[in-house]
Symmetry: D2
């Protein structure tokens, strides 16, 4: 080992996502395996500032791999955005003898971590836990696969009733800045149209597509809409617009909402979390810092957090084309 | 057999519910078993008026018992509410040689059926297919059990994320006139409070209950709200109200919406549908008419449709008490 | 209150079933609501004999309503079958100041409870927790509905692959003495034949039925077999027999096994558990004893445990008839 | 377009897997989009030999994306292994005017396809549809992700009951030659030990590991065993062995069996199938042949079928290490 880190802390921060518990478990067990002490920090950076630390051993994380949410709680912390807040946090970590921490969260959490690292030269490693799949440097974020399946299950159910009544549904899914959930769920659920933040197809094309779908004899139409779609209308406004301009449809709306964040993680997310947790601890012990664990080309890799924060992963053009073909 | 009915028709009408396909299958297979012809009517009473009939045999309903929605489509039909519309429907049935029909639907569909029966002395039997469980004369309607499980699964998921962030959620579930889904799902999902159309607990009590829940150390609060709750506020207004009067909570809202109507039916709904379909066909062949099939005290029974239309099944006082105790 | 019971104990015993945790939660919360102390006994009667008691309050049972298994662990206890073992248990209960206990389990557990009650005049109430639904005095046992849905989901999956290959499957489900799971799951999953302990249809009829099914053009055949079927052959022997006597089929076997005991309880089982727990505590506090809580005609009722032990609930003849008709 | 293929055929062959219907749908819709005729071949190569062809249009594949199994049926075909059988098949394809086919299946199906291609210079493209994930040239086969989740769900359920009784379970999962399902499911379900065909850890190590697990205070133990494990004992023999050599455990066995092949495909498998189907048709139209579509580094790629048949994808050493660490 390249460092003399004796104790590692783990926390979850920001919006929760399925697989966070599996990642916590992996960090804790890897510490146990490598004979390093492990401490859990509750309630994200709030808990760090307040010294809400609990020692963990391999048994502390029994039976959590399949649980949604995070046993460590999570929060967005205003105080950690101030130098004073971060100083308090640093003092707590030092007092506890912690030599590095693993933070599981999204870009907001990583911004805090990298600033903290730069200010105090304190070792930090990030694990991307967010359902949005919008973090640069990893093909998949923790929770994306689970959220996708939750969305697809819900749309399958809505399809049943849509087909029975020849209805058109606008279904809003999460994704303020990126359309990964919308695009993948739309393809997987056989949506007739998909509206994402990355593209503005225009309302004309939407009406054309819906007309074509109706004419082709489809018994129902599903339009999946990302929260942040660029068409400039939310699902309720889209309903009104279509009812006015294309009165052949009985239109309904569904906003899937927070259920997308919960639920038992899929096999994929559990395996990914387990792999990422191992890598995070190993990286700290090898003296690495200010890095995010990711998966690229099916391999677990490390990317500078500053790099990860530079932008969002792009929507796959090929998948947009597949989507266009499937809605023939 | 007490009648000379040679051909029976089956249709679904009104809002769809899980288990309708299992009931269709049962009607068709029972006809086949008893050597009576069977005809499917598509798109509810609309299809009856237009003569949209398709002959069915035992194989026509292979592999549908586990499908949500209705393969026969469903609709609310304005024309059937007029004497002229019903006369057209009658002529179509007679022309096709149909001696009686089974209608699977809710109270709107039954109202049409009983009027039709009275006008033309035409044999009709109803099967209560609606997720609301609001039909007099049956302990359970088809689809209620499935919808309940869909709601509870969704709330379980929301609970994961609510617990991770110590949040309060108002979750709207279906039930305009009755609170069966809200009350049962609320108890099953461990909701802290349940607002139903049958009771007005008042906003004061809601605030008290939420305060108590917070004080007792609960990590999250879930309030299940039926669409038709009597408290006079929808979930969005409730959020505002609580944020204003009880600013200790981070409040979120979720409207579960149409996914509650779809999905593969539960074992209970499939068995219930199978039993109801047999009884419906047997009743017609025994010369009975204007009756609804129901389940009471675990037995399949018949109730006059006029009786079934008289009111909604009451909320179980004992279950309200259980709910109060559980939220201690 | 008719008694001066100040402290109530709760334990789970025998084979576990989904809904046990929901029942534990209900007992604990009802005690809290009625201001009676509550104590959990771990590992069934073993824990009673060893005094493995843990005080419970309303918060001890947070977030367990949706968990399979039992947080109190369960076991079959040989020692409790002896007078010496029971005396040790009695002494422990008295030493702890416990005035009565609620045991959640099956008939083995009830036999112990009723003997104990008779020997020491100690108040006991039983809650029927077993997936087999074989307890006299209740229409449904806790866990039956969940197990049924688990079985039906599994058969739905097997049907997919059976249909793709025109195969015949023998699927073994739980039920040594009674065929409730087999019969209900068979009807719900559209099985072509169902073999239960209560009936011996004979191998001839099975072959006839399979021949008929093949001839009618079905693309696959599913035969659901209860562990304790009376036909005298297990699923592996049935496979051999059919392959020898009816070589038109490609035959496979599946034994569903212990997964039937686990999983998150259904909405039905959670509500039932909540209602039963309330009734159990109330009964003890009203001075009642040696009774089992059950549900009959949708009402929560009490039956003498001695009565409950007298036999198994009968298979519903009407449902057997429905099954016969559905396999037309 | 580089070819003058006017009509493309699609078939499924060998063991079925979830996602096959989504792939069929994609092939059919891509043909429609690119204005090429499409024909379905029923029952694999059997149907090719018998000319069991059905023309498909975009609507023929409505509402199948979420269905398990294959609507085209599948089979292993002896006759296609003979030159005579393949000649018959060729004549049928030519008579129908088919210019190339897409076969969805495993290595057996690909062997047939490549031989056929070499004999008749007939354009063929393969899509890897098998739950085993054992095909060279693709990181994921169609159905693997779904099967994995099915296995993990089942183990989660078994864990519930195992924990309640402090039991040890040996759970057999599919995988005769490769341990991908066992290893991934084992990690995802938190198994204490995983036995795969690629490694022989020896019975000594198994006993040691079980002893350690017991000592560490785990409340249950799950050992996941691939069908083709190299330890030389099946799950029943393992049970006997452990009961004899380590009598501290109450040991049970579960064979998950054919349910692993069925069920609605996951979002991942549906998206993968959609992408692969597009690529397969495009490849044929570009004049490519004797290739298999795969996914490598998240990109859809083509590999010579002869290459794909050369071996199995290797187990990930890093994942074995993760597994070892997690079972600390």
């Amino acid at each position: 080992m390249a460092t003399n880190i004796k104790k590692i802390a783990v926390l979850t921060s920001g919006g929760d996502s399925p697989g966070m518990n599996a990642a916590i478990r992996s960090v804790v067990r890897t510490c146990a395996f490598l004979d390093v002490e492990c401490v859990a920090i509750y309630r994200g950076y709030d808990g760090m500032i307040e010294g809400d630390f609990v020692p963990m051993n391999a048994r502390s994380v029994n039976n959590i791999i399949n649980k949604g949410g995070t046993i460590l709680k999570s929060a967005r912390c205003e105080e950690f955005r101030t130098p004073e807040g971060r100083k308090l946090a640093y003092d707590q970590l030092i007092a506890e003898g912690i030599g590095g921490f693993v933070v599981i969260g999204g870009d907001g959490s990583f911004r805090g971590a990298t600033t903290f690292n730069e200010e105090f030269d304190f070792p930090v490693i990030g694990i991307p836990g967010t359902i949005d799949n919008d973090i640069f440097g990893t093909r998949y974020t923790l929770g994306f696969d689970t959220a996708l399946n939750t969305v697809v299950d819900a749309i399958d159910k809505i399809r049943d009733t849509a087909s029975s009544h020849n209805r058109l549904f606008f279904i809003e899914v999460m994704g303020r800045d990126v359309g990964h959930i919308a695009l993948n769920a739309g393809v997987a659920a056989g949506a007739e149209e998909i509206l994402i933040p990355e593209e503005n197809l225009g309302l004309e094309r939407l009406l054309d597509s819906l007309k074509r779908s109706k004419k082709s004899g489809k018994s129902s139409s599903i339009v999946v809409v990302a929260e942040g779609d660029k068409i400039g209308k939310n699902v309720f406004e889209l309903k009104e617009y279509v009812e006015e301009h294309l009165p052949i449809y009985d239109v309904r709306v569904s906003v899937l909402g927070h259920m997308q964040r919960g639920g038992a993680p899929t096999a994929f997310d559990r395996v990914l979390a387990s792999r990422m947790g191992v890598k995070a601890v190993e990286a700290l012990l090898e003296g690495k810092t200010n890095l995010m664990v990711g998966i690229m080309d099916s391999k677990i890799v490390l990317t500078p957090i500053t790099e990860a924060l530079r932008g969002h992963t792009k929507i796959d053009k090929e998948l947009i084309r597949v989507s266009d073909i499937m809605t023939t």
